[in-house]
Amino acid sequence: MEDMIFYDRLQFAFTITFHYIFPQLTMGLSLIIVLFKFQFLRTKIEKYNDAAKFLMKIFAINFTMGVITGIPMEFQFGTNWAKFSELTGGIIGQTLAMEGLFSFFLESSFLALFIFGEKLMGQRLHFLTGLLVFIGSWASGYLILATNAWMQHPVGYEILENGRFVLTNFSELFTNPWLMPAFLHNQMASLVTSSFVLASIGAFYVLRNKQVEFGRLFLKSGVILGLISSLLVAFPTGDWNAKNMAKYQPGAFAAMEGIFETEHAGAEIVLIGQPNMVEKKLDNKLAVPNVLSFLTYQDWNMQIKGMDQFEEDELPDNIPALYYSYHIMVGLGTIFLGIMALAVFLLWRKKLFKSKAILWTILFLFPFPYIANITGWYTAELGRQPYLVYGLLRTADGVSPNVSSGNTLFTLLGFMGLYLILGLLFVLLVGKTIHQGPTPKKH
């Protein structure tokens, strides 16, 4: 049984991590494409249109990858988490089915039109199709976040005698206090990824002295959007989420912040340290007193519950992983702010395009927002443990009772092999598109 849960969790974690490489780029990128296309309509400068069309090619590759790695996610609810599906399908099925019907169709239909139909439709309609792709991709994110928000903080339900959850109030799924902060935080994080990728492509062109005109455009837009989104992802959206954690999942909050013991006169904020699960303390800690209490409650002396206040089986089952995920996310977010602020400063002083050091830094910065996004999701998902539906349904009670661990291990290995090939080919395709650049002719 332990084995079963372990392999089911590992398979879901692996496939969702791989899947989320793609949507986090497409959601932010669709907004950037709309902005470029809008800029073209306003100024009639061809460069913006070429930029939008070029980015849509990258979008399309990512979208296809997102589709083919997304279908396994939907299937896995039934295949590996049958008990969970049976018990909660009546509720999370609502938002998941809506995602398929409202956003997925919108995104895929109008993506095809954007790519095929520029000449047929004229510029205004072409802009409109781009806008609809953007709306579809954000609606998709919204509905997935609504699903996750229900699992983090269940609302509008009733539990029947046989243990099944049924919906009693549809609109509460969307007024869930967990939803909006999580959605905005997630979207801003996705914008961080896509603006960093944009800036990175720009730095590549400028350093290579090829497609320089586009290189400068991408760099400029990338660092400006990168700074704005790095700010918004921390404040206010990240802050709202942390407050939600403290309010609705205090045990998980203590674990992610690394507070083993309750401090009565205000909690310190841990910058660095290693959780020691044997002695229940942080080793090699570097912390600032009272700041966490202030950030969370705007009161320097407010008490924050430590992990000692919770039963063992109510706390997340992998505290170090949760703690490290959260601190990696926050740490990277802080570094992003610093680098982007510097880049925007150099842009303002007209030195950005000449400064080799910062261009190389930006070029190789693009993997890190992916890591920050994924560790952010690990924080949310590990923090919800040991529950699937917080406080109500334990993860151990959600797996398929009839699928053995051997079968899951077999399919996990299969996914790993197939995704390796998929990943290599993805890099090849995106690399080729970037290499060709927005205009096929040599500059």
């Binding site: 399309a60 083919i68 399908g89 169709f105």
Partner: protein, 357 residues
């Protein structure tokens, strides 16, 4: 409300098999009949331009099934664990074939991805047919051994095959001789559909030959259909009584027969779209006839201890289904609108169409 959701999910699944069916079929035709590079390229394009927007329908059907019949979703997806995961891998592999073929211009690269596309289309169709066969035959719900089940009454687990490959044994596997026959019928039907699509959408040099192939496949389908009908009684003794009980269900087999007759007379039709409509009728009639023979059962039990799964004992609450009814109607209208807009812009032969890359 159960009947509404049952019908809507059924319709969406049938639309999925019509739409993705033509690109599966295109893959099968490509595998066996495309020899010249020019034909290979244009036939791949006839599927490559459309497959991703067709697969969206599968996601929609899956989501709705999850919402309206969560117990069924949980039962079937976990019970058919191995074949479903294999289907997922094939879907991914097939997409790779379609998307990668055109990326590099040398023959061996193209050959590799052509085969990936063709073989996975063939196997996917076979597995979807086998899955339908399993649903028609029923499974050992509850995993009953003797008089006791090892799971709750709505769970089961099927091995890929059992030692005798017999659908009549107490522990049938996913693959047995009955489900294989259904699988082959699916492959032949989809191959006809694919041939029609290739003829309709391309100017490939094999189109004349495909018309002959289509006729031969039609004859094969007549024989297979008669054979499967004659053994159906063994699998499900009550299959025909459902049609007696609900006489209007008889329309679905009639749709199938019309489609089949149309395929055999295709050489008389002037428009290329007419045979395509006939193979569409084949798919509609074939799937709905088989499913409606069981109505309201959606997964028969092969033992006497646990009752079959029906649309009534696997559905969610009335409130949930009613709420979803409202957004479901709006959603369906929207997707029909998108679909019409998209199809209007992609009519005609694909030979000259741009991949968009």
């Amino acid at each position: 409300m159960e009947i509404f959701w049952y019908s809507l999910i059924g319709i969406i699944l049938v639309i999925f098999f019509i739409l993705d069916g033509y690109d599966f079929g295109t893959g099968i035709i490509h595998l066996f009949y495309a020899k010249k590079e020019k034909d290979k390229e244009v036939i791949t394009k006839a599927a490559g331009l459309f497959w991703d927007s067709n697969e969206v329908w599968l996601v929609a059907a899956g989501g709705m099934l999850f919402m309206a019949f969560p117990t069924y979703y949980a039962s079937v997806f976990s019970g058919l664990y191995l074949p479903l995961i294999i289907v997922l891998w094939l879907i991914i592999f097939r997409a790779l074939g379609l998307e990668l073929r055109g990326q590099f211009n040398y023959q061996m690269w193209k050959d590799i991805w052509d085969k990936a596309f063709g073989v996975s289309s063939l196997l996917l169709t076979l597995f979807f047919g086998i899955a339908l066969g399993n649903v028609l035959r029923g499974v050992n719900l509850g995993g009953v051994e003797g008089t006791e089940g090892i799971y709750e009454g709505h769970y089961f687990f099927l091995p890929l095959w059992s030692h005798d490959f017999s659908p009549l044994s107490t522990h049938p596997g996913v693959i047995d001789w009955f489900t294989i026959i259904i699988g082959i019928i699916a492959v032949v039907t989809i191959a006809i559909h694919g041939a029609n699509w290739v003829i309709l959408k391309t100017n490939a040099s094999i189109n004349e030959k495909l018309k002959k192939v289509r006729f031969r496949l039609g004859i094969a389908l007549v024989i297979l259909t008669l054979f499967s009908l004659s053994i159906w009684n063994l699998i499900n003794p009550e299959a025909y009584s459902n049609f007696a009980e609900h006489p209007y269900f008889i329309i679905f087999p009639l749709i199938y027969i019309t489609g089949l007759a149309g395929i055999l007379m295709s050489h008389k039709f002037k428009k290329e779209i007419t045979p395509f409509i006939c193979s569409t009728l084949l798919i509609v009639g074939g799937i709905i006839s088989s499913i409606s023979s069981m109505f309201p059962v959606i997964l028969p039990s092969t033992n006497d201890i646990h009752e079959s799964l029906t649309i009534y004992n696997t559905s969610t609450s009335e409130y949930g289904m009613n709420t979803a009814f409202i957004w479901g109607i709006i959603g369906v209208i929207l997707i029909i609108v998108y679909f019409i807009i998209q199809k209007r812009l992609t009519t005609g032969k694909v030979d000259k169409m741009d991949y968009g890359h």
